[in-house]
């Protein structure tokens, strides 16, 4: 497959790994913030190719994992209504709320459907005027434009029965929070490639300068990640802290301007709760007042109380890159993909789930 096979080539991987080993002279800790990158690193065993001086840590890059339990509870409450068709991407269905998950609710007979695009949910709204269609709008900047488009389209079509339940998060504030922590061990970042196809990477320049860390915009295939690591290590060895673009085949500096305009038209930036981390200022998106009628939280009277995480769970430390899944006493025992205790075990892209599935041999 074009743009896939070349980026999974064994010889290329070994060549880059050798180049990294050639230039490295001291330990470096590099964080990636993207569930897709976590998945690739663990699935292809990339750490087995890297010199021992490199430590890869996984940041809070899985939108499923950082969705607050209260959001799941709201989704469950909405989906419980008989006249609702609740739509979502696949992996959200398995996330347990404080009492239930959407998959079990579906087994109870509620109308919960997996869609591949929020525009499919808008079509459902057109085809089922007597029902309320709600789309679970979860994700980073990558998924936000399509979700915004769905709302814009619904308003244009004058649909009164479509709404979104939003849990959208933004990457740069999370990066700042991690870097500003006094205990941070992070020396460099691999920035999430698909977030950057939307937003570009100009937002990272002040972060790189302020915290003196190299940030490399990186793709998702094994060769992308190895190249990203190489570029980060090269900067670290040369005491530079620039923003570089490894994922040039999909990312330009200014990003996708029309997509960004769409976000400005439809959303406003708000403070946001991140599961396992806490509240991060101005780190989320919510529908602005012009689209308030499409916000499921305004349409449904939701009675959801706040949730306390299981004390066994060290998700906060894992999502901030301070610990690895193997460091957790519950990992693989009380906490596993079928019975996840905390956020990073829930989605297949969470660090704990990825380690459980592909754990080092």
């Amino acid at each position: 497959m074009k743009f896939i096979d070349e980026y999974r080539d064994e010889a290329a991987a070994k060549l880059i790994a050798t180049k990294i080993a050639d230039i490295i002279t001291k330990p470096h800790t590099i964080m990636e913030i993207c569930g897709g990158q976590t998945h690739t690193i663990v699935k292809y065993g990339l750490e087995q190719l890297l010199p021992k001086e490199i430590t890869i840590v996984h940041g809070p890059g899985c939108p499923v994992c950082v969705t607050p339990v209260e959001s799941i509870d709201k989704a469950v409450e909405i989906a419980s209504y008989d006249n609702v068709i609740f739509t979502s991407f696949g992996d959200m269905l398995r996330v347990p709320g404080s009492k239930k998950d959407l998959l079990s609710l579906r087994a109870d007979g509620k109308d919960i459907r997996i869609v591949y695009s929020p525009l499919d949910a808008v079509n459902l709204a057109k085809e089922n005027p007597e029902k309320k269609i709600v789309f679970f709008a979860v994700g980073f900047e990558t998924t936000a434009p399509a979700n915004a488009m769905s709302v814009k389209l619904a308003k244009k079509l004058n649909l009164k029965n479509y709404s979104i339940l939003t849990s959208q998060v933004l990457v740069p504030p999370a990066m700042e929070l991690l870097l500003s922590s006094p205990s941070t061990k992070i020396n460099g970042f691999l920035a999430a490639g698909h977030v950057c196809t939307v937003m570009g990477y100009h937002e990272y320049i002040p972060i790189a300068e302020k915290y003196k860390v190299p940030i490399v915009v990186t793709g998702f295939e094994p060769i992308d990640i190895l190249q990203g690591i190489y570029l980060a290590v090269k900067q670290l060895e040369e005491n530079r802290f620039d923003v570089e673009n490894q994922y040039a085949r999909a990312v330009v500096k200014d990003g996708n301007i029309p997509a960004q305009q769409l976000l400005k038209d439809v959303f406003k930036v708000v403070d946001k709760q991140w599961r396992g981390i806490g509240k991060i200022a101005l780190s989320g998106l919510a529908l602005n007042d012009f689209y308030a009628d499409y916000d499921a939280e305004n349409i449904f009277d939701l009675q959801v109380s706040s949730f306390e995480e299981n004390s066994l769970c060290i998700a906060g430390d894992i999502l901030q890159g301070n610990k690895k899944p193997f460091d957790c006493a519950a990992f693989g025992k009380t906490c596993n993909p079928e019975h996840p205790v905390g956020a990073p075990m829930v989605s297949s892209e969470g660090a704990c789930a990825a380690y459980f599935r592909y754990a080092k041999v």
Partner: protein, 351 residues
């Protein structure tokens, strides 16, 4: 209460973390396994069932007979490459074949939802006849029920079958040993992706077609070369990953496979990439996995490649002493990782 009665008391419902049955309990992965082992096996225990093979191997007057059953509930009932009818015949023929048996006689049970078009039923029946002729089996008994509209899903089919196992064949994971080679008969994930493409309304320029096929003739070709075939399994729900994990656990040995060796067509691979699914976990309907003595592996492969349903046969790995009960894969980059059992349903990833 007397001690006798106290001893006989047992909880009527085996311990389960799930109040209700989920789709994942039928998915072929971990939850399916648990339902079978905790609820069914504990109640129906006997030496035949305990092996949990595709079919039961029974003995009668010195003859070994294989007996198997399977139900077909697929939606859509018509898909590229076939329909539920031929799936029902090939599925049970293959389960018998995986016991080393020559399939002979099948039963056929229909549960039809009121309102199914007679024309569609006729097409299914024709496909059943065709599939049975190709496989060389006869349908010797049957049953038909019709349920009210809304109480079924167009049509459900059950087929059960019996076949005779010639002497000298002993298919059991317990016979596996380290060094045995693992053969895969052809390209993976065809059936599952053909269904997925129809369900999700994905139109690929070159259509993905189900690989439903009878494997009994292929299996006979393999046995004509060697009897040292220890395991035969057809990797249906849960894909090759689930099948290999089950074998590794039953044999209490490790399995090592090589990602580069696993055959997959470019279209299926691309479709999996687009939807975000891992082909190792996707259903196959006309493929088999065989674990054979390493001495005979090359000759068996050569013979398979002369057969219609084995032209892409390849050795994908071997049985190992290390990593007992697990499946390890050497990735295309030369690194190693676990190939885990499917947990729940495979859900397409967000991004």
């Amino acid at each position: 209460m007397s001690d006798d009665i106290l001893e006989k008391l047992s909880c009527p419902v085996p311990f389960s973390n799930y109040e209700k049955v989920l789709m994942a309990h039928g998915g072929g992965g971990t939850l399916s396994q648990k339902l079978i082992s905790k609820m069914f096996l504990t109640q129906f225990q006997n030496p035949y069932l305990n092996l949990l093979h595709d079919g039961a191997i029974l003995e009668n007057a010195g003859n070994k007979i294989a007996f198997s059953t399977d139900s077909y509930v697929i939606n859509p009932i018509f898909f590229p490459g076939g329909n539920i009818g031929e799936l029902a015949i090939n599925g049970t023929v293959n389960d018998l074949s995986m016991c080393g048996a020559k399939p002979l006689y099948l039963s056929l049970g229909f549960i039809i939802e009121e309102g199914l078009l007679m024309d569609e039923l006729w097409r299914i029946v024709q496909s059943i006849k065709n599939a049975a002729d190709i496989a060389g089996v006869q349908i010797v008994t049957g049953d038909t029920k019709v349920v009210e509209k809304g109480k079924g899903d167009k049509i459900f089919i059950n087929t059960s079958g019996i076949g005779f196992i010639p002497d000298g064949r002993n298919i059991t994971p317990l016979n596996c040993k380290a060094g045995d080679k693992i053969i895969l008969s052809g390209k993976i994930a065809q059936h599952g992706m053909a269904i997925m493409a129809v369900r999700e309304g994905l139109n690929f320029e070159s259509e993905i077609v189900s690989d439903t096929a009878p494997l009994n003739h292929l299996v006979e070709e393999m046995f004509s070369v060697s009897n040292r075939i220890n395991v035969l399994r057809d990797p249906t729900r849960g894909g090759i990953s689930s099948t290999l994990n089950e074998i590794a656990q039953s044999a209490n040995l490790g399995i090592m496979i090589e990602e580069n060796k696993i055959p997959i067509s470019a279209q299926v691979s691309a479709a999996c990439e687009i939807i975000g699914l891992d082909p190792l976990y996707i259903a196959n309907e006309g493929k088999l996995i065989a674990i054979v003595s390493s001495d005979d592996a090359e000759n068996i492969i050569d013979k398979m490649r002369t057969s219609k349903y084995g032209i892409d046969a390849v050795i994908i790995g071997e049985v190992t002493e290390e990593n007992k009960g697990k499946v390890v894969m050497k990735t295309m980059l030369g690194t190693k990782r676990i190939v885990d059992m499917l947990s729940g349903e495979q859900l397409p990833r967000i991004c």
